[in-house]
Symmetry: C2
Subunit: 513 residues, 2 copies
């Protein structure tokens, strides 16, 4: 195996872990015997008797949107007037002390904890990855983060020195560019293939960039890493097939770069749009929202393998988060990579923020390990989430497909295989097909965006999510639609209607506001 130490930045290599209050690491004098019950006057840790919280009860729902559907509504229905429903006996007690090794109590959760994360939850992330995306080598490890952004920032710190190049999908989660910039790295865009059946990332462009690198970029070192959102890509929604990933991983071996795989919502796998689910009044049968997959079917037939599963040389850094599967406000996620990379991330964690909130870790750990019953219980919750997202995605597509704008061929959408984003293409503003000059596409899309906003729907224009706006002009005639935030079915249908109405009006007005 290649030694993954070669990937670690000089900055990260120079850091060491230490604590001034630890027992000395040098050899004790002859005759020294450890005391059976030492008393601590060392660490500045308040006794848990100082904590004002004695215990916490967490009241759970059984499925997403349950609180909206108490009175016979469907899973994704209207909000009720007074919000919160009683959850009956579906609640979890977190006490000050517990002896169960799988659970966390407040004396640990509210205390200072290890930067890497508290034991039971850290172990759970390893169990989870072993079941879902097991790396193809053994020396991997996990570390908790305060969410995907924190994980990505720490991954950048771990491997990028000033001047190092990282390849990035041309349309991307742009905060990543701040993380690259923060360590003096250089982000270089790789094209995305925006055709109907696509893996997203343009393999031919990626390969030609790498093969011709030294010739075409004499002043830049060869890329140290590729950053990819390989499943349900943000903003385009594309998912790379496993065959495609094999080809990319082979390139990584040949050209010796790291793959930073960002996967915040890849577990939300989505079946193809199916019109037969919708009745003539746009309603969907609530029965369709039931999860009808077993965990084994989900893992073997629906979930796309991670780059981790192809990794034999410890060059993949996978960044996960609990934000989309549980809740963003926890500020909780984790990173899986070779143990030397994880060690570098941990040493940076001692500088930058000291890890995730123990309160958030305790609540999530105990919900999973106590209330849901562990790994399979967590996977069952994920299945319920994907069923709800799948419904929302189809509802939005359905609303768009029924529109005059779509039926006249003015717009198109990419049906995503995972995640929470749909690419909404404005076909009459396609510079690649000569419908508008390349240097005019952003200004035309800006005018259209104002029209869309005036119709009462907010979307993200592709040109706002570029590594280099100029580089991507030919492919910037799209909006990213996200079906995650809206409240209910009616709003989703209405949003598709408003959007397509706005586009039609803009087009009928000669591509003017």
């Amino acid at each position: 195996m290649t030694d993954p130490s070669q990937f670690i930045s000089k900055r990260a290599q120079s850091r060491k872990s230490s604590h001034f209050a630890n027992v000395p690491s040098d050899a004790p004098p002859t005759g020294f015997k450890p005391h059976p019950k030492p008393l601590l006057l060392s660490y500045g840790t308040p006794n848990d008797g100082f904590f004002p919280i004695d215990s916490i009860d967490v009241n759970l729902v059984n499925f997403p949107f349950e609180h909206q559907s108490k009175h016979g509504g469907h899973l994704n229905g209207h909000k009720e007037a007074n919000g919160t429903a009683k959850s009956g006996n579906n609640s979890l007690h977190i006490s000050r002390h517990t002896d169960d090794p799988k659970l966390l109590d407040l004396s640990r959760g509210l205390q200072y904890g290890p930067v890497a994360g508290l034991g039971p939850l850290l172990e759970f992330t390893k169990e989870f990855i072993t079941k879902t995306h097991k790396p193809a080598y053994s020396e991997w490890n996990s570390i908790l983060s305060t969410g995907a952004s924190d994980g990505l920032n720490k991954a950048c710190d771990a491997i990028l020195d000033p001047g190092d190049v990282v390849l990035v999908e041309e349309f991307t989660f742009t905060p990543f560019l701040k993380f690259v910039n923060n360590v003096g790295g250089v982000a270089v865009p790789v094209k995305i293939n925006l055709s109907k059946e696509s893996d997203g990332l343009d393999f031919d462009h990626l390969e030609s960039l790498l093969v011709n690198w030294s010739k075409e970029n004499p002043s830049l070192p060869k890329p140290k890493a590729l950053y990819t959102i390989s499943t349900g890509q943000n903003p385009t929604g594309y998912t790379q097939t496993v065959e495609f990933r094999r080809k990319v991983y082979k390139l990584a071996e040949e050209h010796n770069f790291v793959i930073i795989e960002d996967d915040p919502y890849g577990y939300l796998t989505l079946p193809k749009y199916n019109s037969s689910r919708f009745s003539s009044n746009n309603k969907v049968d609530p029965a369709d929202l039931k999860n009808d997959l077993t965990i084994e079917e989900y893992l073997s037939d629906h979930l796309t393998p991670s780059y981790l599963e192809l990794d034999t040389t410890g060059r993949v850094i996978r960044v996960e988060t609990f934000s989309k599967l549980f809740a963003p406000g926890l500020r909780l996620g984790f990173v899986i990579a070779h143990k030397k990379v994880i060690e570098a991330i941990q040493n940076y964690g001692e500088v930058a923020n000291r890890g995730a909130s123990g309160l958030a870790q305790t609540v999530v750990n105990n919900i999973i390990n106590d209330k849901l019953g562990g790994l399979d219980g967590w996977l069952n919750w994920i299945l319920k989430m994907r069923a709800t997202y799948s419904h929302r995605k189809d509802l939005l597509l359905h609303s768009i497909y029924q529109s005059e704008a779509f039926q006249k061929g003015l717009v198109d959408v990419i049906d995503p295989k995972a995640g929470m984003f749909v690419t909404f293409k404005v076909k009459f503003l396609d510079p690649a097909e000569g419908k508008v000059a390349s240097d005019q596409v952003v200004s035309a899309m800006k005018q259209l965006l104002w029209k869309v906003i005036s119709h009462g729907v907010l979307v993200v224009p592709g040109y706002n999510m570029t590594v280099d706006q100029k580089f991507s002009l030919e492919r910037s005639n799209f909006f990213r639609l996200c079906y995650a935030p809206l409240n209910n079915d009616e709003e989703i249908i209405e949003s598709g209607k408003r959007l397509t109405d706005a586009v039609l009006e803009f087009h009928n007005n000669g591509n003017k506001f």
Copy 2:
């Protein structure tokens, strides 16, 4: 007023705040009308209907260690066999939705939130500082952090460019040195005066360093900042008087440096040791643990003013935390400084970790604003904390004062005016008094530490908390004792006994293990 922009590092100045999903900031076209009820297909924020938690009940104690004292014990008594006591009706309900503007609900607390912190809690920190340590100018601001370490790391990032010098108390919270190192700064130690009545920081040394800087350090720029733990200093426990702070602030104005004031436990003000509280069997009357101060007495007569209160030019950065007053596992704190410094910290927060857990913010905010009744309720909780710490401090001193080692003059302690640390001086290993050679003090203290450990008590040696071990040899013959972690009165008394027994034995054995 000097423009505090001059203090901001080039790195921090180059960062900008932005979000790709925000509504365009340029002017809308003629005829544009905003829609009254826009629907969001823009942000990647899951609807709160996806959150598995419907509500949370937090069960509180009325005073520290209440759970140990349910059956007539005193505040700092034995742990009960099965830990958690029922808190009766002293509990707080956090629902999915609330309309109360002072409270947070789960739809906000579990959602993505502003990097600076959620509104009500951020407002509370400003109210709190206005009451306790109001800055002497108006353009200050607050930002939440994930604890003091995060606040300090971000403060370093905000003001230090590579090569910039920061003056640091020679014995200090050494993780700060990692934060300095992380941005390429240079830490230079300032002596601490370890005499009985002292402000800690050695003013004469500080002044002479500054006055002679260019002559004695031709290769280093003049210091950009002073880092000081000015109240209950870590590790020495000293507190600077307000007169002393005025002199230091004057130096800061003259030599134009920033003061980074780290104050994690300064609110724990401690009265002088009073032997009359202890009966012959070492027990203290539980009545003595009652807080007998009013909030006004506490604020006017007990709490030492912060550097903020002297600051007229926006050069003080005050770093606070909820770790010691509430619980460390929250990972929650805040920073108060000039609004331009806070803006720089916020822009770094968008890169490094995106701020504190919304769950922790929600729990703390609602405990304070709902259950405790706001600012005065929080101050009342602090008064209960300080009464308990005061008891613990006196108990530890009492145990040491009664020892043979103390009565023979082998050791001495510094009675702290605030915080959680006591300096425990080993007088027969004092290099300044010629009791041991300077180059032997660390090895002698190391041998003594092993003896202390073998007696069953863990302490932190001063030499482990230096900026530069060599620089501080003359003053390294002490241990830091922390009375925060132990479980009860008996353990505190026993720890003092074990420590002094160990020292006596070491001394009687000819300063050998």
